[in-house]
Subunit: 297 residues, 4 copies
Amino acid sequence: MKKVGFIGLGVMGLGMAANLLRKGFEVAVYNRTAGKADSLLALGATELGSPSAVAGSVDVVITMISNDSAIREVYFGENGIFEGIRSGVTLIDSSTISPTLAKELAAEAEARSAAFLDAPVTGSKPAAVDGTLVFMVGGNADRLGEVEDILLAMGRKVIPMGPNGSGSIAKLAHNTIVGINVVALAEGMAIAASGGIDGHAFVELVQSGGAASRAAEMKGPKLLEGNYDVQFSLELMLKDLRLSSVLSDSLNVPTPLLEASKSLFQVGDAMGLGALDMSSVGQAYEQWIGRKLGHKG
Amino acid sequence: MKKVGFIGLGVMGLGMAANLLRKGFEVAVYNRTAGKADSLLALGATELGSPSAVAGSVDVVITMISNDSAIREVYFGENGIFEGIRSGVTLIDSSTISPTLAKELAAEAEARSAAFLDAPVTGSKPAAVDGTLVFMVGGNADRLGEVEDILLAMGRKVIPMGPNGSGSIAKLAHNTIVGINVVALAEGMAIAASGGIDGHAFVELVQSGGAASRAAEMKGPKLLEGNYDVQFSLELMLKDLRLSSVLSDSLNVPTPLLEASKSLFQVGDAMGLGALDMSSVGQAYEQWIGRKLGHKG
Amino acid sequence: MKKVGFIGLGVMGLGMAANLLRKGFEVAVYNRTAGKADSLLALGATELGSPSAVAGSVDVVITMISNDSAIREVYFGENGIFEGIRSGVTLIDSSTISPTLAKELAAEAEARSAAFLDAPVTGSKPAAVDGTLVFMVGGNADRLGEVEDILLAMGRKVIPMGPNGSGSIAKLAHNTIVGINVVALAEGMAIAASGGIDGHAFVELVQSGGAASRAAEMKGPKLLEGNYDVQFSLELMLKDLRLSSVLSDSLNVPTPLLEASKSLFQVGDAMGLGALDMSSVGQAYEQWIGRKLGHKG
Amino acid sequence: MKKVGFIGLGVMGLGMAANLLRKGFEVAVYNRTAGKADSLLALGATELGSPSAVAGSVDVVITMISNDSAIREVYFGENGIFEGIRSGVTLIDSSTISPTLAKELAAEAEARSAAFLDAPVTGSKPAAVDGTLVFMVGGNADRLGEVEDILLAMGRKVIPMGPNGSGSIAKLAHNTIVGINVVALAEGMAIAASGGIDGHAFVELVQSGGAASRAAEMKGPKLLEGNYDVQFSLELMLKDLRLSSVLSDSLNVPTPLLEASKSLFQVGDAMGLGALDMSSVGQAYEQWIGRKLGHKG
């Protein structure tokens, strides 16, 4: 059975690595901040001292890290992955990074006789814990075939998207839709609440009709209750929309809804909501209309 | 059993009236253009010569008509509903009209010792045919209670929304979300297609992830195939967004996504797509990116 | 010399009527709220008791009133203009009203053998006082020729725009540009201030370069000083943008910048800034960036 | 008198360098494409073979080049400025570059005991030829003081903006306003034209009223005549708006009008208008309304 390295034990990474261990993979882990690996060690993981050490002792390395600059550090930095990598290793990044960086990592991996797959996921903490993530993957189809069992140990579906960078592009395009759908829900709820409609009745209607969406299913209850515990933070969504805006600029695609939504998440961030769930963007509307979105009709 | 009048035998109305007949209601119908009632006559309907005649011979009148000015004609015009109405009748309008007009109709009904409910629906032709519409209803709760059996003969759910006008407001807020979600899908597909991603893989991803929506379920296949047969026409969505824009203006709700989406449907309408399905708004993006949204990756 | 009636003695009307008197016209005035005419009586004006009385005793009636519903009352209401009007009279409305209402007033005037010109102005209080307004006029060119001397007694230029309604349309299109230019200035200043640039240096640059505008000339100093004394109130600009949005919808013109700007003025209005100068829309940006637009670099 | 080097002899650079020569400065020039310097040689310029050679033989180097990557090549590339630079030299870049790059160039210059000023200009070809440019300058005030005579040989005004990067930031904020104002004009003209208003009368009105702007002065005639000879190309404006969007993202400033305008220039670019004057963005509106903006009323 392939030996797997896992780097980045945040809220997503912990769940993913645990699923690998439960499915019987031998897993070596590394996290910049110490003390995160304890629950995994109990499941049989080995902890190593650097990305370089991980890359030097496994067949497949998975990274799950917050942003482009942290990824860059883990791959290119001192004691980083590329310092220790052996030929033949497959690198899989499941973070949401820019397509440009994905291609850069792929080129560097190839130069070292290794392979790289950009394999971001859709699904947040619960899906990471339950092993029901969906992977969208950019990179060589044969290499993907060799590691599909590993991905399916952590998720329920693997969708090949094309050459390197395609996974990143698909993720940004996907999350653009998520961000817009969340703002759409808040905006519709703001109209309804201002018109005196009961918030719960309206959300029931939304889910019964053509306006139904996963966003409404996940965020409707949060907006009704004003419960902004994090499923996916506003600042992470803003980060993704910025990456998507730069991407669509580089592809020369006019994206008026992406841009209008990005402005709204920026307003939310400026209101100090960055660390809350992205649905807290609804608070901008609440401030404007002087009424809660969970208005009782 | 209550006698029901049905006025407006378009694509929606025909299916709704047929379901009333199938459930055993006695139904008198009227349509401005002759010859539309034939299939209903075969099911036992009676055809009358004017809205006035219908309103004078039934307990409950249902109207299903395309826009504010046509509704105004049917209710207030010569040989219109208010000319023939008897006291005690309940009027139900299931069109999508402005809340202002809904309140006006309710006031006029009350002045004639009748009642009015604004009861628009979500669901398009298939739901009208199958009797699975969802009604959102504004108006007196007792009167709604008395006619709920009639509504449930045509639909699967009735959601009370508040006083008269609330049904209209809820519908416009709901359709605002629909319109935005459809453009969001097209915009995400445009980014993906421009980035070289296969359209089918991307839509599969959307439906597997947080971006999933009824809009994507209904319109994803249409956008992939460029099949713009009408489920709900672009010009009707544009009409609803305009009503919603006027409504949100009157309620003083800032609605940047509604407005950005309205502009895009206007662009689509200007491209001559008004009579096609609203998803044809995606053709604006196709023109801009010089590539089909159903791009083969 | 023609006898002139003047109805509506607000901040604009007072200055305009005074200029007519100074140029030697005989002027009969009416204002709904009493006591506004005193300064004009001192200049020789006659005060009458109703719009009807004014319309019955002059050759030309000028109206300058805040909105569509007040205009409707003055023309169509009890003791209104149309009740007292004599044949041959020319009615001139210099308010900013919807083109639809302008055409309705023109039709009613024609039915009474009178004439109507929609003649809104550009220029605010100082221009009304100095007699330097610019009139844009919709209506019959011959009738306009007959009253041009009256308009030029109050303004510096008269621009014929076409048939009735054209004056209104031109005004709304014009004010759409004004509204956008004001928000553009605030947005540019917000970027500059967030980047640490001195506000005064930036406004100097704007006025020295391709970004120069009347809006920047009028509003730059106000935004730098946070002085929102009214030149033209935020709520009036919002009213105009709403009329323009309805107009452009009816003309089927996609207007993404108008709509984005309208949303911002709505945000300003929701912040309680409606009665302040429209440039106070900049306070929305100040709240978002946590810094004054008049930032000292 | 200081010896000046000038690198980048495009449409702007040629005029600027000629003014330096006319004011008596000794000027050494370099351009990547040969044959551009002929008119300057006739005025007494010396032509050198590389940026490095220029930087090694003058007191002040001015660069005027199209984009970040070309600038990077000229400064950091083989035979680039930093290869040949002597200590004490002042580098002045008058291109429109990202603030990030401006700071990077300043840091590198300081490491080589030289100085850097980011000094972009407002004004297009005619101002470069006439010597009426306005310079907005980021960098050390003393170093700016030493070269102000050089800048004033090419322009009519020098505005200090703050530390390095401030010139770039000010330029992007300024051009954001320009871009929005141009689209605002086109959008207002589209409403007017659709309403049947004569285009020339409307532009006269704009320039007579509160909607007046340098953008309307420069672009109004072009939009009326459909003459899109380049003053400033659509693709360059799009480039600036993209830089401004990235900048405002990094500063966390919500910029809904910038984004809406950027989308429109992207649409224009997608229509194949990139190389035409930026006012050709009006053609998007013309396509949508099916009428020329220079409509004869």
